[in-house]
């Protein structure tokens, strides 16, 4: 997760400690250092969903699936996460709000010291539900919207889904539950991007999270819907411009990018073009502490059946199952050659990633996308949009800061 607003506008945010080790010089309470080393866990609490989105990585179904955790199993699973000192558990799905026990489980997670957050399509966020979730200790609800009404509803497979999601967002804001937008950028909805931000800023939203399409789950079948690398670059640039424009007008929105760490290199380039080399060096330093693509390290996914995945998008491969072995043991077991390789991937990258100056802050982008597109786990991410001159570093940028900070971090682990 890369915070455009933090990097370009110096916005302070509570989650930055997890992204940039920024706790020391931040005025917002940060997550304890011990927890920084543990992954954020996305939990697909159910595979059921009331919608049928084209890009759903979890291939969610409207029918209940066998193998979903009972309430008792879900509690035991949350205890495993707490025992491993996981900092944040993201209740996801499917649509997590179709689980009748979700409020209880959020409360239990909060009691265990896990910070519960929610990813939802927003359509089930009634006022009563939002109040109950807030009182249970839910810290944040990210609501998915993927375009203005027409495009969103087509994508989500239901008329009225857009209006229902916006109502859900308004409900959260009314009851004082922190909320924000999740937007998966595709060719189908890229043109709506600014309008959606404008509309939701008017509603009162100040946090916007933009996802690049990854090629897992149903997303694997819609690779054609992905933007071309050039279109992707243009979309990210528009988001950077938009963030600066809002901040210039005094509206301190938080904007974040997820799922394509070529964005890291792009942000350094953008900062240098816009603000000069010193700012580019600072951006580069922050991103070095961020550590690049988090797959298999700072992000984990546990699906509705208990299978542990290296990221939420990589549902076709599982490291193990928490019904067989506690989460922490699975996550620590580097006798699994794939897990070990993901954690040392920088040395193994091939193609354009091998000599890329941004390799330390990107780490080769998405290994899942590379595997899906090329059949090579260490091949190039097809969605890297940096130009050759940028990757090869013909223009000066503060690479030395990057290497120093990263090797320091590795030494201290």
């Amino acid at each position: 997760m890369i915070s455009i607003s933090r990097l370009l506008c110096d916005l302070d945010a509570a989650g930055d400690g997890l992204r940039y080790d920024a706790g020391a010089d931040s005025s917002v309470p940060q997550i304890a250092a011990e927890k920084q080393r543990r992954p954020v866990v996305v939990w697909n609490a159910t595979r059921r969903c009331n919608l049928a989105c084209t890009h759903c990585y979890a291939a969610a179904q409207t029918e209940p699936a066998p193998g979903e955790f009972t309430t008792a199993e879900a509690r035991a699973f949350l205890e495993q996460l707490a025992a491993y000192d996981v900092p944040i558990v993201l209740f996801s799905g499917g649509e997590p709000l179709v689980r009748g026990d979700v409020v209880d489980l959020v409360a239990y997670a909060a009691d265990l010291g896990l910070r519960p957050v929610l990813s939802t399509n927003g359509t089930l966020l009634t006022r009563e539900r939002a109040v109950a979730l807030r009182e249970a200790g839910l810290e944040y609800a990210g609501v998915s919207v993927d375009g203005l009404a027409e495009r969103n509803d087509a994508f989500r497979g239901r008329d009225g889904a857009f209006d229902a999601a916006v109502r859900g967002i308004e409900t959260c804001l009314e009851v004082g539950l922190k909320t924000g937008l999740r937007y998966t950028i595709t060719r189908a909805n890229a043109p709506d991007l600014e309008d959606v931000v404008d509309l939701l800023v008017d509603v009162g939203v100040d946090r916007f999270c933009f996802y690049h399409l990854d090629y897992g789950g149903r997303g694997r079948d819609i690779v054609d819907l992905d933007l071309t690398p050039d279109e992707k670059r243009a979309a990210v640039e528009r988001l950077c411009d938009l963030t600066l424009e809002y901040h210039d007008r005094g509206a301190e929105i938080e904007t974040l990018l997820v799922g394509n760490y070529a964005d890291a290199g792009f942000l350094v380039e953008y900062a240098r073009e816009r603000f000069g080399p010193e700012r580019a060096a600072r951006v580069s330093e922050y991103l070095a502490r961020n550590g690049g693509d988090p797959t298999g390290e700072r992000i984990a996914d546990v699906d509705y059946e208990g299978n542990v995945h290296p990221t939420q998008f990589w549902q076709e491969y599982s490291l193990g199952n928490v019904r067989d072995r506690p989460f922490g043991e699975i996550w620590d077991d580097e006798s699994n050659p794939l897990l070990a390789a993901l954690r040392t991937r920088e040395e193994r990258l091939t193609g354009r990633c091998r000599d890329c100056r941004y390799r330390p802050i990107c780490r080769g982008g998405s290994r899942l996308r590379a595997l899906t597109a090329t059949g090579d786990l260490f091949g190039p991410d097809p969605q890297c949009y940096l130009r050759a001159d940028e990757r090869r570093g013909e223009r000066p940028v503060a690479d030395t800061h990057v290497d120093t900070a990263r090797s320091e971090r590795v030494r201290n682990q």
Binding site: E63, P64, A65, A72, V98, V322, L338, A341
Partner: protein, 107 residues
């Protein structure tokens, strides 16, 4: 190992694509070790996907249906006695629509 209850893992893994456990040998004199699982429609696809994932390190690669394995563990996901209240709230029932399912039909 202690006296162990059987894990519910294998039974619980019936998905649209079945799971296949993957076993990898990395060294000639090394063990065939479990290395996670893949989901695939059949054994051939499972082996093909496992090959993509591990060909850079594997000398031998086996897959077998996850549901075919009987499992036992000294520390399975502990399951408390489920009270009747909890059972009412259990989300796995296929027969009874949950409270939220009725909300879904609202616009």
């Amino acid at each position: 190992m202690h006296e162990r209850p059987p894990s519910s893992g294998a039974r619980a893994r019936a998905t649209t694509h079945p799971q296949w456990e993957v076993f990898v040998r990395e060294r000639r004199d090394g063990p065939l070790a479990h290395a996670g699982s893949v989901s695939a429609a059949n054994g051939e696809e499972a082996l093909a996907y496992a090959t993509e994932l591990f060909e850079w390190c594997a000398l031998d690669l086996w897959v077998c249906p996850a549901a075919a394995l009987e499992r036992a563990s000294a520390r399975p996901l502990s399951i408390r006695a489920v009270t009747s209240d909890e059972r009412d709230d259990t989300p796995t029932s296929t027969a009874r629509p949950s409270r939220d399912s009725s909300e879904v039909s609202e616009p």
